[in-house]
């Protein structure tokens, strides 16, 4: 029974990956709309884009980690 609850928890934690996907999409979409308005400034901002994507993605990875812990460590 305990294991079953841990699996449900792991599934719930995996929702976090979807939330991270929304975040990454937001960053990339806003970058693209900005880049299309001012293409000459786009190239200088790719580093910022990747940093933003990395920060948004990190929390999704945390969610993935929590679900892994619930699957294998609990």
């Amino acid at each position: 029974m305990e294991g079953d609850l841990a699996h449900i928890g792991a599934g719930l934690a995996a929702i976090g990956s979807g939330a991270a996907a929304i975040g990454v999409g937001n960053v990339a979409g806003n970058y693209l709309s900005g880049a299309l308005r001012n293409p000459s400034a786009a190239a200088s901002q790719t580093a910022t884009l990747f940093i933003g994507i990395a920060f948004a993605e990190a929390l999704g990875i945390f969610a993935f980690l929590v679900s892994l812990l619930l699957m294998f460590a609990v």
Binding site: G3, A47, F50, I51, I53, A54, E57, A58, I61, F62, F64, L65, M71, F72
Partner: protein
């Protein structure tokens, strides 16, 4: 977590690929056992050395293929350090370049089928991440003295808000090495687990073609992810280094 492979689940467990085991024999893993982890870490180092030594030994005016790759990688990271951290940080370039080359090579070598991915283990990435954290913190105090604490005291904010902001800044500063290392390990581990899950579906005849297509697509994605995560790790190192050298907001 029980082994459910015999109960109609996947043929092999997707997380089995991350088990650290000895290369020779089946003994227990001790302090000095030569494990598959050690083997692939060593291979990554050998590949980096081979690329840079072979690539720069001839110094031809018209570069050969290997020399172009070496020059491209060098120039790419050099420009990143210059752009993100500033001209005065160029003396820390060797450390950052070493980090990048090591991570990118372990990520790419891990994509060889039946190989082992060292960067999927938090033990490896935590050493890299905490190494950066400790180096940057020590450097910040050596370069700026107590002025390094100005990083946590946001001078542009209203005075009443500053103590609260200082606490938030302090927490976010100490979470840095954790997120820095888990980001790399999590991405690589997740990618390889997904590959193995698709590979497990290939045993079912009805979905085998779809699964093989899936593996091909995910594999291409993993090549991209392996490079981007190395890039992100390096650029965040540059950002943290910039904070240490110029702590004022």
């Amino acid at each position: 977590m029980a082994t459910e492979a015999e109960g109609g689940g996947l043929v092999f467990h997707p997380m089995d690929q991350f088990i650290v085991k000895p290369v020779f024999g089946d003994g227990a893993v001790g302090m000095f056992t030569f494990t598959n982890m050690a083997l692939w870490l060593l291979l990554a180092v050998v590949c980096v050395i081979a690329l840079m030594v072979l690539g720069t030994s001839k110094r031809a005016t018209v570069p050969s293929r290997i020399q172009s790759v070496a020059e491209l990688a060098y120039g790419f990271i050099y420009k990143m350090v210059e752009d993100v951290t500033g001209k005065d940080a160029v003396k820390y370039f060797p450390y950052i370049f070493t980090l990048f080359m090591f991570i990118v090579f372990s990520n790419f070598l891990a994509l060889i089928p039946t190989s082992f991915s060292p960067t999927s283990h938090i033990a490896v990435t935590a050493v890299l991440g905490f190494g950066v954290f400790i180096a940057v913190t020590v450097l910040g105090f050596v370069k700026n003295g107590a002025g390094f604490l100005g990083l946590f005291w946001v001078a542009s904010a209203p005075l009443a808000l500053r103590p609260i902001l200082a606490i938030i800044e302090l927490i976010s500063y100490f979470v840095r090495p954790v997120s820095h290392s888990i980001r790399l390990a999590g991405n690589i581990m997740a990618g390889h687990a997904v590959l193995k899950v698709f590979a497990g579906f290939a045993a079912i005849t009805a979905v085998a073609p779809l699964s093989i297509l899936g593996i091909t697509a995910i594999f291409a994605l993993e090549v991209l992810v392996g490079f981007i995560q190395a890039y992100v790790f390096t650029i965040l190192t540059c950002v943290y280094l910039k904070d240490a050298l110029h702590p004022s907001h």
